[in-house]
Amino acid sequence: MKDMGQGFVTPDGRRIGGPVMEVKNITLRFGGVTALSDISFDIREGEVRAIIGPNGAGKSSMLNVINGFYHPQEGEVWFRGAKRGPMKPHQIAHQGIARTFQNIALFKGMSTLDNIMSGRLTKMKASMFSQAYWFGAAEREETEHREAVERIIDFLEIQAIRKTPVGRLPYGLQKRVELGRALAAEPSLLLLDEPMAGMNVEEKEDMSRFILDVNDEFGTTIALIEHDMGVVMDISDRVVVLDYGRKIGDGPPDEVRNDQAVIDAYLGVPHE
């Protein structure tokens, strides 16, 4: 991996640009508990960035900070060259950041199609009145959005469950639908919270392919939290390692894999 000024080129030929998101000296406390302390790293345009660490390392907290859901007591979050103040979730969504959740947060009673359609919400412009009566702008708009949703269904190969209520789907497929809903917002930065948790090997392989394809086809920048080291090392360009709320490693997968601090964090160190 060669550094080319602001960005670099990955071994498989993708061009990674300058930073999209920079977190600087973040410290987050819940009462007396310090979840994150003094963490800094960046996420660059077009890369797959992983945040890993053992249980309780502060990964999800970190994602929630990036997401704007938590407001850190110290430190700054810079998004596309501007310092970000406290925001409401819908404001974040309008910035082009979408996410999935560790515990699937879909509308269980709604179909796959409707769930993904709900991801288009930020794109809908028609007034509530015309939507309610489905005429004029609303009708045109729905056709347009339906097409976008169908492209996602095709992309994620979930045609067979288009009209199935998601509550009836197996876990792995629900995860895929959730990814679909996040994609529906056409984000420029996609945050994935343990996209492969609880999946079997085959489902993990499928999901890895979808993540790489999203990155490749749409040029979406991806930041993901993952437990499974093997998967992370295979699909990410750069990895941040957290342990007890501190950053203990940051770099390309191969470098991180051989880092003694990282190995200790994952395997433990013997007590003298």
Partner: protein, 654 residues
């Protein structure tokens, strides 16, 4: 322009017929495909334009007459167009099973010497790239679905659209293409299909345009197919049936071929498209029926009652109404009512509302399953065919449909049964040769053009229907010289849901005896309903009332065997219900659940001896292997019972 106007006989290749269709049937739909959730149609004029553009692109890339073009993927209109385009260029399409692993694919492509491969997606591209070192002849790959392939080296890899764009840009070669189409003859190779080959390596069956067109033309007339028909192409493109239905017959009749969105959406696509002409192996019909029955179990009391009452009625009169036989007015009225309340909605759910012609083939279909669909008013028929025959050997004419025959010889087919009982045929559809295997060709096809099917069967007196008994190599003789067809009898037994597996002995013996395995699900359920307590499989198997049931089944099989003088000798005199299930872990079955006769005969020799010695019971001890590899023993005293046999009778002339 009527629906039944066929292209002139003088058009002797598929590309010539496509040209004719593009004018005579210009506006009629030819292919359908679901793109982004909406069905898209292509007319015959569109298909010709698309295929021509692709053909010109292939010429531009250097495809030459006589080259082989591998086609790998699930049913997609573009892959069908690619086959037509190859034929336009005088090249030979070779559809390959898309689910085969890289090694199998490598064998076929290498044997066929394919220079080009048109594949569906990244998965297939990856597969072929992984074996490209062993495919020296393969020069170019063209893919339909670009997803994930953007970063691949495109020196010898092309997108389908890009090849078409090349073709459209280089339209100056159109005259050359027209000349190639015009110079092709009916004797030229139309397609090469590799048979899956249960024994040894697959063989490339070479079929000419004459083969395909004569089979397609005569079968279309036989079943009155027309341009208004439609099919769903969901069976593998490498299978001869799909080629005949989706290319041969579709071109000749001008009907439309819809491709499912994906393999998983097949059932909902079936419902949306509502084909009029439907083909499925017995397994598919069985699964559909099972899913209906399971859903009926969960239905409310009223629905269950309606279903039971009207299905009973349908089973009684439905098939006769379908065959146009006389049925009483009240029965007809009740059937109409049933159609409104039960059959119609059910057929709609199954996607068979519009099916006016359904075929099943490949293996024996259970009579209840067969009758179920016919009772609903679905004209399900059986045919018997082979790749080597361009499918059709025999078919059932309307009005003469039965579960136990495969029909009368298709138009133009001659049948012959040799002294060993093996079925031979000769027809215009008979294949040219096995590609690059003259000795194999000679083994299968004699100099006069007769082809051995490898199946034993006989032609029923009176009706002229062919009945297939078994694979020829499995058929033996009993001591008195009468025919012994174990698989045929076993299948008859296995059609009873209570019987999971059966093994019949009798080769070289005076009489037939049988081992029976009960189906724990079905018999266990029955025991529960009848308050019969049992502690183990062995105990249930030996229960006197289970024996009663099984004896009734065996005797029913005997009665049906007695109806055929040729098979009457195979009636089962004595039987035993085994104390354990035959299991692949014990080597008694193959991994595909086929019985291994010799191993079973060896392991259970004392029981067989007892069957023939006239003993009333036998103590048996059998070693079993558990799933984790440990071994144990099961022992039990088994009852041996006699079953009534019926003297052979002549079937009354039909």
């Amino acid at each position: 322009m009527g629906d039944h106007v066929a292209p002139p006989e003088a058009l002797d290749t598929l590309p010539k017929i496509l040209d004719w269709n593009a004018t005579a049937r210009a506006g009629l739909p030819a292919s359908r495909e679901k793109a982004f959730g909406i069905w898209q149609s292509f007319t015959w004029a569109d298909v010709r334009e698309e295929a021509r553009a692709f053909a010109l692109g292939l010429l531009n890339l250097g495809l030459a007459p006589g080259d082989r073009v591998a086609i790998v993927g699930e049913n997609r209109p573009r892959l069908y167009w690619a086959m037509a385009a190859s034929q336009m260029c005088g090249a030979v399409p070779v559809p390959v099973y898309q689910d085969s692993v890289a090694e199998e694919m490598q064998y076929v492509l290498d044997h066929a010497g394919a220079r080009f491969a048109v594949v569906e997606n990244q998965e297939q591209v990856d597969k072929l790239l992984s074996v490209k070192d062993r495919l020296p002849a393969l020069e170019r790959m063209i893919y339909v679905e670009p997803r994930g392939l953007r970063r691949y080296d495109h020196e010898r890899l092309h997108a389908f659209g890009e090849v078409q764009a090349r073709g459209r840009a280089g339209a100056d070669r159109a005259e050359e293409l027209d000349a190639l189409i015009a110079s092709a003859k009916g004797a030229d190779t139309c397609v090469m299909l590799y048979t899956s080959g249960t024994t040894g390596k697959p063989k490339g069956v070479v079929l000419s345009h004459d083969n395909i067109l004569s089979a397609a033309r005569s079968s279309s007339v036989f079943d009155d197919l027309c341009a208004a028909d439609s099919v769903l192409a969901y069976l593998p493109m490498a299978w001869v049936g799909d080629f005949i239905f989706s290319m041969g017959q579709a071109y000749v009749c001008g009907f439309s071929v819809a491709c499912p969105e994906s393999a998983e959406t097949m059932l909902s696509d079936l419902k949306e498209i509502g084909p009029t002409y439907f083909f499925a192996p017995p397994r598919v019909f069985e699964n559909l029926l099972t899913s209906v029955m399971i859903r009926m179990e969960d239905a409310g009391t009223l629905k269950k009652w309606l279903f039971r009452v009207f299905m009973d009625h349908a089973k009684r009169v439905g098939p006769d109404i379908l065959d146009g036989k006389p049925v009483g007015f009240m029965d007809r009225l009740k059937y109409r009512l049933g159609d409104l309340l039960v059959y119609g909605p059910l057929k709609n759910t199954l996607g068979m509302s519009r099916v006016r012609l359904g075929y099943t083939a490949g293996e024996a279909i259970g009579p209840e399953i067969f009758q179920f669909y016919r009772a609903l008013g679905v004209n399900l028929k059986q045919l018997y065919g082979q790749t080597e025959a361009s499918v059709f050997i025999t078919m059932q004419p309307n009005g003469e449909v039965r579960a136990d025959t495969v029909g009368v010889p298709s138009p133009g087919v001659e049948l012959r049964i040799d002294e060993k009982g093996e079925v031979w045929y000769r027809s215009p559809g008979v294949f040219v040769e096995y590609y690059k295997q003259p000795e194999k060709t000679a083994e299968t096809k004699d100099p006069e053009g007769w082809v051995a099917t490898g199946d034993a069967g006989f032609i029923e007196e009176g009706t002229g229907h062919l009945r297939i008994i078994d694979r020829a190599k499995d058929v033996g003789k009993m001591a008195d010289g009468s025919l012994f067809a174990p698989k045929f009898i076993e299948n008859k037994l296995k059609f009873f849901p209570d019987i999971l597996e059966a093994v019949v002995f009798g080769a070289g013996r005076e009489m037939c005896c049988a081992f029976v395995n009960i189906d724990l699900g079905s018999v266990g359920n029955w025991a529960e309903r009848n308050n019969i307590a049992y502690a183990s499989y062995t105990e249930l198997a030996q229960h006197p009332r289970v024996y009663e049931t099984i004896r009734a089944h065996v005797e029913a099989v005997n009665r049906s065997l007695a109806e055929d003088p040729m098979l009457a000798g195979g009636q089962i005199h004595r039987f035993v219900v085994l104390h354990k299930q035959l299991d692949a872990d014990d080597g008694e079955l193959t991994r595909t659940q086929k019985v291994r006769r010799t191993i079973i005969a060896d392991r259970y020799a004392p029981i067989i001896e007892a069957l023939y010695s006239g003993a009333k019971e036998i103590f048996a001890e059998t070693e079993v292997t558990y799933e984790d590899g440990r071994k144990g023993k099961i022992s039990a005293t088994l009852r041996i019972e006699d079953a009534a046999v019926v003297p052979a009778q002549r079937r009354a002339a039909a």
